[in-house]
């Protein structure tokens, strides 16, 4: 089975990568690593440095802050970008709710990837805007 082709098909359905051509998606699959996490496994650890950027292919994950579950992430969602962009340790654990399959890009490679793919950068900014909006609603 050509896993790479299967992942390209999955990515083509995600809004983050909606503007990419098939060769660009193939390049992305070559650039990112694939990782799976079992139920209950920590993907990102609050307070430990060196984050990566994750895009969920399959499964679900919990955002856990100081031991409290805050939200759920699903296929097409991404996480880890804040610590990558700021160079700071994550402020939350991300924990696999059930088996979780992700594409992963090391934090050190995120800037080059985003600058090289401005449409992905724009879509990511839209995602960040939604997060800020949600957080603002929480606060108010």
């Amino acid at each position: 089975m050509d896993v790479r082709a299967e992942v390209v098909d999955i990515l083509a359905g995600f809004s983050l990568f909606a503007d990419l051509t098939t060769p660009e998606l193939e390049n992305l699959v070559d650039t990112f690593d694939e990782q799976v996490f079992s139920e209950g496994e920590r993907v990102v650890r609050q307070g430990l440095s060196s984050a990566s950027f994750y895009v969920i292919l399959d499964g679900a994950a919990t955002i856990r802050v100081d031991g409290k579950d805050r939200a759920t992430l699903r296929p097409g969602d991404f996480f880890g970008e804040i610590s990558c962009l700021l160079g700071e340790a994550p402020v939350a654990d991300i924990v696999a709710q059930k088996q979780l399959r992700c594409l992963v890009l090391p934090g050190e490679s995120l800037e080059r990837f985003l600058v090289g793919h401005p449409r992905v950068l724009f879509r990511l900014l839209q995602g960040e805007a939604r997060k800020v909006r949600t957080t603002t609603r929480w606060l108010t």
């Binding site: 051509t21 060769p23 390049n27 694939e34 079992s38 650890r45 399959r101 090391p106 934090g107």
Partner: protein, 507 residues
């Protein structure tokens, strides 16, 4: 033909079965044996050595063994410089590789590697049932039943050390005449030919390096840009041994290195036409070539294990694992050898462990054997007490000279724990286990970390009341972390853990 009864481990029930006879299985069975753990070892091969009985195809290793170093060969510290010897606590079995190399290269030839492994197996008296093929698997209550060419083996736990050496190619290359790693003709038969290699990892560059003296033209293509290990400062990327085609391309010597996806391949009589497309501007190119070689990776030959619940991932179909190399989805199934690379650990800064190579998985094997002893055989292993005042020296010595943390950076760690009346030396543990073990006792772990940019530096993790804090110490130009600056900083970080005993010793 030898009678089956001459062979060790006849079909039947065992507490543990190991499948494989490459260096991963050899290291594990040696370590299990030293712990006195009863187990059987089965292998389809006729002799120990695994893939090194055939590969690398151009007959020289990618991993070095330095015949001269600043440490005696029988010491642990020398293991940093010898990536290929298996481990032992018996001096006669240590550092075997430099004794079988002819001195012409510090990369052993494939026959030298095979000889080194055979020497270890012979001196250690490893018992392996060769010539028996694992054919299928089934679960039977709490046991696994392995059907083999010699009969059925029943065990509650099985370790598969079957390598990741089955070449794989995508559908676009599923065409008659397209060659794969391991199927190449003798190099001289590529004389004056145009060769298109799909894939820009080490296997693609190894083939290109081997064919450079013969080919009229070599094209290497894949969607992503080539990375070099000397740039990533890790084993990520093409190793320096295979960088000559890259220089040839950089100097416009005739090699073409192309970032492109393969759109289609057609056979046109005796030649092939390869259509490529750029991932950046979608521009296309067409190449007329004499040979197409797929260097598109390898898959793990796991047979029917995925059908029984072993979750796999990635193009190599690697089995997802816990930090102790047990299937994440099928308890009782473990992995050794290069399959251990799928237990990813923290993968800090995106740098993988060296668990895919001998110099990494030989240490994992020792940790796994101890873990199996305690989790599967009910053995309580001794963990020696260590004076609180000696902890700082112990950890700094380990991060300066300990081969485990040098070869398995941010993956394996040396651990001390609060236990009994004071501190105990818990030995080597997977770092991912340490940082996620919320219920573990107060403890400290030290490892060496690389970030892909700077010199390696010590990373310290301190667990207190279930919460782990990380402290990164500065790098040292001579990689010596035993000086006063390090002693003071580590003492400060460990103060809450070691308490008054440390205060007394430091004063």
């Amino acid at each position: 033909m030898a009678d089956l009864t001459d062979k060790p481990f006849p079909p039947g029930r065992y507490p543990l079965v190991v499948v494989g006879s490459g260096p991963g299985a050899m290291q594990l069975t040696y370590c299990l044996g030293r712990l006195g753990l009863d187990h059987a070892v089965l292998s389809a091969d006729d002799a120990p050595g695994g893939m090194f009985r055939r590969w690398p195809i151009f007959q020289r290793m990618l991993s070095w063994t330095k015949p001269f170093a600043n440490h005696e060969k029988a010491t642990r510290a020398y293991e940093r410089f010898d990536w290929n010897s298996l481990l032992s606590d018996d001096e006669q079995l240590r550092a075997i590789m430099p004794t079988v190399m002819d001195g012409t290269s510090y990369f052993p030839s494939r026959p030298e590697m095979e000889k080194g492994l055979a020497t270890f197996a012979q001196r250690a008296g490893l018992r392996i049932r060769h010539g028996v093929r694992w054919e299928s698997t089934r679960a039977d209550g709490k046991d696994f039943v392995l059907t083999t060419s010699d009969g059925e083996y029943i065990a509650p736990a099985v370790v598969f050390a079957v390598g990741v050496a089955q070449p794989w190619r995508p559908n676009v290359l599923a065409l008659e005449g397209v060659q794969q790693y391991g199927e190449l003709r003798p190099a001289e038969t590529y004389a004056d030919r145009r060769i298109f290699i799909v894939g820009k990892q080490n296997s693609g560059f190894e083939i290109a390096t081997g064919l450079l003296p013969w080919a009229r033209q070599i094209v290497l293509a894949s969607p992503s840009p080539t990375r070099l290990s000397v740039d990533t400062r890790s084993l990520v990327g093409v190793r320096a041994r295979y960088v000559q085609p890259y220089e040839d391309w950089a100097l416009a010597g005739g090699v073409v290195i192309l970032d492109a996806s393969i759109e289609s391949v057609e056979k046109t009589g005796a030649t092939y036409r390869v259509h490529t497309k750029s991932p950046t501007d979608s521009s296309t190119l067409v190449f007329e070539v004499d040979d197409v070689i797929a260097a598109t990776g390898f898959v793990a030959p796991l047979r029917d294990l995925p059908q029984h619940g072993v979750s796999v991932f990635g193009q190599s179909r690697l089995p997802a694992q816990t930090p102790y190399w047990e299937s994440a989805t099928l308890p009782g199934v473990y992995f050794a050898g290069t399959l251990m690379q799928a237990s990813l650990g923290l993968k800090r800064h995106g740098i993988p462990s060296n668990s895919g190579a001998v110099q990494g998985y030989r240490y994992n094997a020792r940790v796994l054997a101890r873990h199996l002893a305690e989790s599967r055989f009910g053995v309580t292993l001794e963990r020696p007490a260590v004076n609180a005042g000696d902890v700082v020296s112990l950890l700094l010595d380990e991060v300066t000279r300990g081969p485990e943390v040098w070869h398995q950076r941010s993956y394996l760690a040396r651990v001390v724990k609060v236990g009994g009346d004071g501190m105990v030396d818990a030995g080597i543990e997977p770092l991912a286990h340490f940082v996620d073990d919320d219920s573990g006792p107060d403890a400290a772990a030290i490892t060496l970390e690389s970030n892909g940019r700077d010199d390696p530096y010590p990373a310290v993790y301190v667990r207190s009341k279930g919460s782990v804090k990380e402290y990164l110490l500065p790098p040292h130009p001579l990689l010596d972390f035993t000086g006063d600056q390090y002693r003071k900083e580590l003492s400060d970080r460990l103060q809450p853990l070691l308490g008054s005993a440390l205060t007394r010793s430091a004063s």
